[in-house]
């Protein structure tokens, strides 16, 4: 019991000092591009004919999103984040939103912080079941019929969590639950920027749902801007 108290007190002090050091604004910036080499698997058209209310929302078939590429071999939907060197942070108060629209998850990869409120909304005229498949956090599975208000949830441990809808088997998404606010998800150009990093040594990790993860160590001094690029080996299958 006494040990537990001492432990808690120590933890509180640690958290307090961490917050104090982190409060310093400004700092360095790490930016770069994520690309692939090799031949990535071609996106396949999704057959939504079993769900007419969704199929009619798309003039052309929706393509699978397990690998999404852009111009100049750029890779989309890569989570780039500080995996070591930065202190853990408390979650921001604003929620993040995960939409189900046209039987697709928007965004396909949603990054947010530990204990940050996650809002899940159904904009479709059909029932979805939201079934995230964590291994470390708790697994739940909830139904969300059309017209029901967004549901909210939180994850208390960092983890990359695949999300699926069992009713519509083509629906796949990902949650990236991260320990701090230094993260970015690459878009069309494959570029990312991690700003406001205080001087220090950092491990930067790039995670892709099909190609796994890569890390690089970067040291920032003063308010310098450093470039870090990641290249993933693409597999044609």
């Amino acid at each position: 019991m006494r040990m537990k108290q001492a432990y808690l007190a120590g933890l509180t002090m640690l958290v307090a000092s961490v917050i104090a050091t982190y409060a310093a604004p400004g700092g360095g910036t790490i930016s770069g591009k994520v690309t692939y080499e090799g031949t990535p698997a071609k996106p396949k058209p999704i057959d939504m004919s079993k769900e007419p209310s969704c199929a009619k929302q798309h003039a052309t078939p929706v393509m699978t999103e397990t690998v999404v590429t852009g111009p100049n071999n750029s890779l989309e939907n890569v989570v780039v984040y500080v995996s070591a060197g930065a202190p853990d942070e408390n979650a921001p108060s604003q929620p993040v939103r995960f939409d189900q629209k046209g039987c697709q998850y928007i965004p396909h990869v949603l990054a947010f912080q530990v204990n940050q409120t996650l809002e899940i909304a159904n904009d479709d005229q059909t029932s979805h079941n939201i079934h995230p498949l964590p291994k470390i956090n708790r697994e739940w599975n909830k139904s969300q019929p059309p017209g029901t208000p967004p549901m909210t949830d939180k994850y208390d441990k960092p983890e990359f969590i695949p999300v699926k809808c069992n009713i519509h088997p083509w629906m796949h998404g990902n949650f990236a639950v991260l320990k701090n606010s230094h993260y970015a998800v690459t878009q069309g150009e494959g570029s990312f920027t991690l700003a406001n990093l205080p001087p220090g040594k950092y491990t930067i990790t790039a995670w892709h749902e099909s190609y796994g993860d890569q890390t690089q160590d970067v040291t920032i001094s003063g308010s310098e801007a450093k470039t870090v690029n990641f290249v993933f080996k693409a597999k044609p299958y």
């Binding site: 029932s127 079934h131 697994e139 599975n141 139904s143 069992n166």
Partner: protein, 289 residues
């Protein structure tokens, strides 16, 4: 000499006190409480390695020697995701839930009913199973859901239950007539990516988590964690949930129930029930694509 002995006794007592403190804590964690029964993990361990490990494995991760031969894999106690709970989705079950599961067995799976074991045996086993996952140290079981008293059975409640079955799209997996052949049935997988079938009401067997109306109520409110069956706790009102129970019973055309009898007493219901083909859970090409 005598001084030495007192001193060593004192030292012994101090050492004992220090070592006993964490032991007491872990002893509490290694207990289960079901009604008047208190289960102990050390006793449960003996039983586990006699009756359970062949399927559930010596680490409790569901990789026992027999596991490759089983369809519907043995429960992984390390992951500690449980289908049959009285607690909300995403929470640990109560000791009583696990106790009931061992007693009842799992219908349509290889898990038999262990009624040959005594209540004390089952309580001991649960205490041991809870030592297999760190989740039991970090999390508490969820707060059991409240099941309101069952309202009077009426034709209206059956009909309203049918509307809910349509509105909540239960038929997407379970099929319009409850045969387990809905449009999404063929592609269902559990959380281990193993194919899994939705319940076929027409086959008339017991449910996975019990045989009573209360059990049926709990199944769709809590969901079956680790399977495609979601929780409907946030999207269905308590009084409406009982209507759905009443309707679902009329889909069990091979099982006599007050609900089915009442439904068959109407012209519409009698025609519907008479028109039903009875066969087992469809497989392969039998599943309507």
């Amino acid at each position: 000499m005598r001084l030495m002995t007192t001193k060593s006794i004192r030292l012994f007592l101090v050492v004992l006190a220090i070592s006993a403190a964490p032991a007491l804590v872990s002893a509490q964690q290694m207990e289960s409480h079901i009604g008047k029964w208190t289960g102990h993990a050390d006793a449960g361990k003996q039983l586990y390695f006699r009756y359970c490990w062949g399927c559930h494995g010596f680490r409790g991760d569901g990789n026992g020697e027999n596991a490759p031969y089983l369809n519907i894999l043995p429960r992984n106690f390390v992951a500690a995701t449980f289908k049959c709970r009285s607690t909300p989705t995403g929470t640990l079950p109560t000791d009583q839930d696990l106790f009931n599961a061992i007693e009842r067995g799992f219908n349509n799976s290889n898990m038999p009913s262990w009624i040959t074991l005594t209540d004390q045996n089952r309580a001991d086993l649960i205490a041991f199973v809870k030592t297999l996952s760190p989740r039991w140290k970090n999390d508490k079981p969820g707060e059991p859901i409240t099941v309101p008293p069952e309202p009077k059975l009426t034709i209206e409640s059956i009909k309203h239950g049918h509307e809910l079955f349509e509105k909540l799209e239960c038929w997407k997996c379970h099929g319009q007539e409850g045969y387990g052949d809905g449009p999404s049935a063929a592609t269902l997988t559990d959380s281990n990516d193993q194919p899994i079938r939705p319940y076929n009401f027409a086959a008339g067997s017991r449910f996975k988590c019990g045989a009573t109306n209360q059990d049926l109520y709990k199944i769709f409110i809590t969901g079956l964690d680790g399977t495609p069956m979601p929780s409907f706790a946030d999207v269905i009102k308590a009084e409406e949930a009982w209507d759905l129970v009443h309707f679902l019973r009329t889909l069990q055309v091979t099982r006599k129930s007050p609900e089915l009898t009442l439904w068959e007493s109407t012209k519409e219901g009698a025609e519907q029930v008479a028109s039903k083909k009875i066969y087992g859970t469809p497989t392969g090409s039998g599943i309507k694509q």
